[in-house]
């Protein structure tokens, strides 16, 4: 018992890492399942880059659609990234985070387009931002925001 109390910060550190790992990977698995399912459902909503103009007779309406999402890192991912900071190389623990954020943002954009009865989205753009800069500094929480926006076209 004493050893736990003497190395209290070490114990907290380990607990947070274990909690981060279990909760983080559970959340990630669930998120990916939902992403894949919804991507299948929205497969028919075409996202394309178009040039020129649509014939006015064909387009009933066009609207801006956006989808944005903020995903936070967990303690375990941060630990891996901190260690990566020492040795360099691909920060693999953050790759899935950015991937999830991008796909979720596109999905939300598509969902909002579908709600408005759009048939397709043209000229989609993706932007990412970090909320909480210097995520690997002490006492800060890092998260990634992805925002997807485009023009929803509602055909006649």
């Amino acid at each position: 018992m004493d050893i736990l109390l003497q190395n209290f910060d070490l114990v907290i550190f380990l607990l947070l890492a274990i909690l981060g790992y279990t909760a983080g990977s559970l959340a990630e698995k669930r998120h990916y399942r939902s992403i894949i399912k919804r991507e299948k459902e929205l497969l028919k909503m075409a996202v394309i880059t178009a040039e020129g103009s649509f014939p006015p007779s064909k387009v009933k309406e066009s609207a801006l659609v956006t989808g944005s999402v903020v995903v936070s890192i967990d303690y375990f991912k941060r630990l891996l990234a901190i260690l990566r900071n020492i040795f360099g190389g691909r920060v693999k623990s953050y790759e899935s985070l950015v991937d999830r954020a991008r796909r979720e943002a596109i999905l939300r954009m598509k969902e909002s387009a579908k709600k408005q009865g759009a048939n397709m989205i043209i000229n989609m753009r993706l932007e990412t931002a970090t909320i909480g800069r210097n995520a690997n500094k002490k006492k800060t929480v890092g998260s990634v925001e992805a925002i997807a926006y485009g023009t929803a076209i509602i055909m006649n």
């Binding site: 050893i3 003497q6 394309i48 375990f76 901190i82 260690l83 690997n136």
Partner: protein, 273 residues
């Protein structure tokens, strides 16, 4: 052109490797790196310590002493002097101007501060049952001076802090992680220092009294309520049982005799109500 939407099966943007395996690799690398830093720093610190004049040490000691409210103790001083008198002529310890202080605190401990200052806590004195035991404790502290452990400990600590900060930045989480890893090495190093000081203490005790009686009495009383060995993995001192084993081994090797101990003069501790 026909538009046929397809869902991607494979995700090329996310690495397939398992995060726990990555963690193992990175942690292994971290431990290796920390070990290397610790090794290099240790050599540098020990070299610097061997070149540090005792004058500088005394100055550092004066600064350290301000942290401990303690009074110089006459009868402890006499005990220490008799130990110093039995040191060989060429011992470097003779260059020190030793002062011994008694601090009124519960801690069962004695500290060697730089510059020949020894602080004994009254909690330790209360546990002493014979003069030989006390002499063993004092001789152990003299051992730290002989090996200049307090300075190398200081040097290593400073070196670790500076190196971690320089390499990874002051506020970065990486530097605290590296410091934590270094702590493990530090504990091992510190335990080795304590064992070396124990050996020195035993030799000096035998020189002073002609026998090694009382060398392990105190530790065997400590070991009774020391519990199991697990907490001592990261501690600065070895487990009392291990210290006893090492001392007994040393007594056997050197063929020291163990005779009866002398009772402690009871004027050391100030009268308390």
């Amino acid at each position: 052109m026909q538009f046929t939407p397809k869902q991607l099966v494979d995700n090329i943007n996310v690495s397939k490797s398992h995060p726990l395996i990555e963690l193992l690799w990175l942690l292994g690398g971290l431990i290796l790196l920390s070990g290397l830093i610790f090794f290099i720093l240790g050599i540098t610190a020990d070299w610097a310590v061997s070149k540090t004049p005792i004058k500088v040490e005394t100055w550092i000691g004066q600064l350290a002493l301000n942290e401990f409210p303690a009074e110089e103790n006459q009868s402890l001083g006499e005990q220490l002097q008799s130990l110093l008198d039995s040191l060989p002529e060429e011992s470097p310890l003779h260059q020190y101007n030793f002062r011994i202080f008694l601090s009124n605190a519960e801690d069962i401990n004695a500290i060697a501060l730089p510059g020949g200052n020894i602080v004994v806590f009254s909690g330790l004195l209360e546990l002493m049952e014979s003069e030989n035991e006390l002499a063993m404790v004092l001789a152990h502290e003299l051992g730290h001076f002989a090996h200049r452990d307090h300075l190398s400990g200081l040097g290593r600590g400073l070196g670790i802090a500076v190196a971690a900060t320089l390499l990874f930045g002051e506020e970065s989480a990486a530097s605290s992680l590296v410091s934590k890893a270094l702590l493990t090495f530090q504990a091992k190093y510190s335990q080795d220092q304590e064992s070396a000081a124990d050996q020195f203490g035993l030799d000096l005790l035998t020189r002073r009294y002609g026998h090694a009686g009382g060398a392990i009495d105190f530790f065997s009383r400590l070991s009774e309520d020391a519990g199991n060995k697990l907490p001592y993995l990261l501690a600065s001192h070895p487990h009392p049982k291990d210290r006893i084993d090492a001392l007994e081994q040393h007594i056997k090797e050197k063929n020291y005799r163990v005779k009866a101990t002398e009772p402690l003069a009871d004027k050391i501790l100030p009268e308390t109500d």
